[in-house]
Symmetry: C2
Subunit: 507 residues, 2 copies
């Protein structure tokens, strides 16, 4: 399954298709060395306190920010995402790392729980322990936010796991630069050697997933690639969890009251959302359900023409898939209503709005498969029954939205309830793009939007993916993890004899 062959990740300027660099894929010995170093780091990281991990992550955030100019220059050259967007994304990356530092320091993620001995039950103390080395597959579309030092890496380090990142071939130089920053910054901050490692290339990724010392996989990307990794992990003698966050068709339902009161605003908002990052967002609205006769597709086409978004896609492969995807949508019964003419050089493609009849939405329809890029489909529903049939036909997705006519919209509550059964996040009167890194965030959703629907790749609960609970029974203080000892030496929130005890302040 894995050979010793070393292919190259080609760094390409998507605006000009000029080759910028060719980075060799990691050899198998290099992969094994990275995992061996991570394995060595696992024990000291497991026993480190949340406060120690927070220090490492904060140092990493500072180092990333310090390198912002170089990072943005390299990333812009090989992604074409633009200096403004990428500069903001570096800030976001640093702030995410600080957020996970805060979660580690706060300590609730450990789930520390103590049940004192009773007449019928022993002394039981439960804590979440880090799994060990985690393989992270960076995303193509957010080189900083979901890339080499993105949410997966930040939350895994916060949970106490060493990380080996396989960089995305869409931006190999950015990956290499971020990896250098991480190694240097983490070492300087006192993190164990091997806390962070990086590899390159398709075969290195396969080897990571199959390596017996890798304990979990985190992935952001397409369903095709995510499910392939999930199957590979399921073939191991010791199966490990794969947390794959995959592309989906995210639906937006426009209620009659919304269509009556603010159709132009919705059309403009839609264009802003589905062309953001040239549509290369996993939270892009993909399918709009609007009342029959609303003419929403035409409104969107007009708004699209006014904005005329132009720009390259990340890679020639993504651009070719987008064009083929539009063809599949048309074969599936969709009609192009409007689009951008003369999109530009390189990998640029035409943003487009399509319309389809409700009958074209059936199980297995090509319209239910994600088309990664700046396209949205509008389907007009004649009545509530058909609207609900359409919703019931959709696959599980990361996010879904309702556009209402205001807080007294009679359709709002019912639609929110239906969408909660379909998506990991339900949005009302805002657009689906944009995923804040907070305590209450959930970025995941039913199969096939994620391979592990109860998990999130963003927010405080992202740490939970990389640990498993262990209960200690009748264990002497000296043999217990610090977080479970009497006196609460780490001053973290715990549940003791059934009651929540918030963290004790430092004296």
């Amino acid at each position: 399954m894995v050979s010793g062959y070393t292919a190259y990740d080609i760094s390409l300027d998507p605006r000009t298709l000029t080759e910028l660099a060719a980075l060799p894929g990691s050899t198998l010995p290099e992969v094994y060395a990275a995992v061996a170093a991570a394995y060595t780091a696992a024990a000291p990281m497991s026993s480190s306190s949340g406060a120690e991990r927070a220090g490492w992550l904060e140092a990493l955030a500072t180092a990333v920010e310090a390198a912002v100019e170089d990072l943005v220059a390299v990333a812009d050259a090989e992604t074409g995402l633009g200096v403004a967007r990428l500069t903001g994304e570096v800030t976001r990356c640093a702030n995410q790392l600080r957020f996970y530092a805060g979660i580690a320091r706060e300590g609730s993620f450990l789930g520390a729980t103590i049940d004192s001995r009773t007449a019928t039950t022993p002394d039981l103390r439960r804590i979440r322990r880090p799994l060990g080395p985690v393989a992270v597959f960076g995303a193509s579309n957010f080189p900083f936010g979901f890339g080499t030092l993105g949410n997966d890496t930040g939350s895994a380090l916060a949970a106490g796991c060493p990380v080996v990142v396989k960089g995305h071939p869409a931006h190999p130089q950015t990956h290499a630069m971020l990896a250098d920053i991480a190694r240097t910054a983490l070492a300087a901050a006192g993190a164990p050697d091997g806390a962070f490692g990086a590899v390159t290339g398709f075969e290195a990724g396969q080897a990571l997933v199959l390596h017996p010392q890798i304990t979990a996989v985190a992935f952001t990307g397409s369903q095709h690639a995510g499910l392939a990794l999930w199957s590979l992990a399921a073939s191991r003698p010791v199966v490990i969890p794969v947390f794959a966050e995959m592309g989906t068709v995210n639906p937006v339902v426009v209620t009659p009251a919304a269509a009556d009161s603010r159709l132009t605003e919705i059309a403009e908002g839609c264009v802003g959302s589905f062309t953001l990052g040239m549509g290369q967002f996993c939270t892009k609205p993909g399918l709009l359900l609007a009342p029959l006769g609303s003419g929403l597709a035409t409104h969107i086409a007009e708004a699209l023409l006014a904005v005329n978004p132009r720009g390259p896609l990340l890679t020639p492969g993504i651009a070719a898939n987008y064009v083929a995807g539009i063809d599949r949508l048309v074969l599936g019964g969709a009609v192009v209503i409007g689009g951008v003419v003369d999109p530009g050089p390189g990998t640029a493609v035409s943003a487009a709005v399509l319309a389809a009849a409700p009958e074209s939405i059936q199980p297995g329809s090509p319209l239910l498969a994600e088309c990664f890029g700046p396209v949205v489909i509008v389907v007009e529903y004649p009545d509530t029954a058909e609207r609900d049939r359409l919703l019931a036909t959709l696959d599980g997705c990361l996010v879904a939205a309702v556009m209402t006519g205001g807080d007294d919209d009679p359709d709002a509550a019912d639609l929110v309830g239906q969408l909660a059964g379909l998506a990991g996040r339900v949005v009302v009167d805002e657009w689906t793009t944009g995923v804040a890194t907070t305590w209450a965030q959930h970025h995941g959703g039913p199969w096939p939007s994620t391979s592990s629907p109860a998990s999130t790749s963003v927010g405080a609960a992202a740490l939970d993916r990389f640990s498993r609970p262990v209960t200690y029974q009748n264990t002497p203080q000296s043999a217990l993890p610090a977080a479970l000892r009497d006196g609460n030496p780490w001053r973290i929130p715990r549940r003791v004899d059934g009651r929540i005890q918030p963290a004790e302040p430092e004296e």
Copy 2:
């Protein structure tokens, strides 16, 4: 894969091998009807409060206790587990249901989290929503504690999921009686129709796992059966989680200090633990590592002779597998040191203690496969390095123990740390059998002891298996689940803007 054929579950007295009854397996229309009823119940159960669910579970507990005499009589006839043990287990079953009622009422399991709008982030509110109909596969060895109304059913109902239980063929009449009790008691307590359903037969179980409206599977039993269900679920178009708690070889390490100070006590405790329920416990100690020259196997053989445990195994199939399992252990290099002669009629087998050289413990050795029944293997280790090699060779397990020479035992802390990497529960100076249902319990462990190592089938966290989080963004109060509304109408613990807010008392 599934035919319309109806086989029979045979109720058999294991003491006499007399056939007591033949219960027909559910037909496919019966399976579909049970799932359809569960599907109908899913929506009202999802919106029910924890307090409502608690009421249903407490009514169920009362009904189970009220039927204790009939239940024990039927269960004893078809399992041979004895009236005393089974009477205690009915109490345990009822108390577990009350425990899960308490967890539902307390409300932390919802994980309610609210982040207020800030300058850069929207209003986000997160809660765990029940998945929908859950298929439960009851265990053979605990007809009440882990059976039709055991931990899986109790925690799934508490989490707000309808349940369809496939009863274990070792006690089909007990299954039928418990199912009748559940349907009647839940209906009388006001639970939605379809909250509980029951089916019988191997093919009914397969059909359940493949049914598109089943959203999760909970299983307790052998690795063979558990992994088969896991593979079946992974073959679905929409893959669902399988929480399989499977048999393992649970290790117990005896330190030199323990061997020096209390070898006889350890030998007697070991016999009590590994012959409890005639060794038919998933927490049975399976492999003892003792210092070289301690002669622990001989001591256990003497203690075994003194107790002379006799009794039937649950089924002829389990007895045949036990005998074959002993043969495999011997082929793998183990030697029988002592056992029970003339174990008794029916399915009775000889409890036995075996010894093996450390060299016989290698990856893939037959000694690393569970032998379900009253047998334990003793391996003497010459030094710490060989002890640690043996531990590193073992598969993931549900529980592991250390027998120390007291709190100042120099080996204790290191061994607890090693075992925490191997097991879901680590026990010091107590035996592994016995799983208390408390907040801090974890009954699970690394692959292959469970198919989902971060999950537990016992304790407060057992509910987490049957829900997935959803985040509501910018959602009006009227469309939010009650648990997330301003004012905390359910008075549950929540995290608001990062801070834990314990439940507010009723005014």
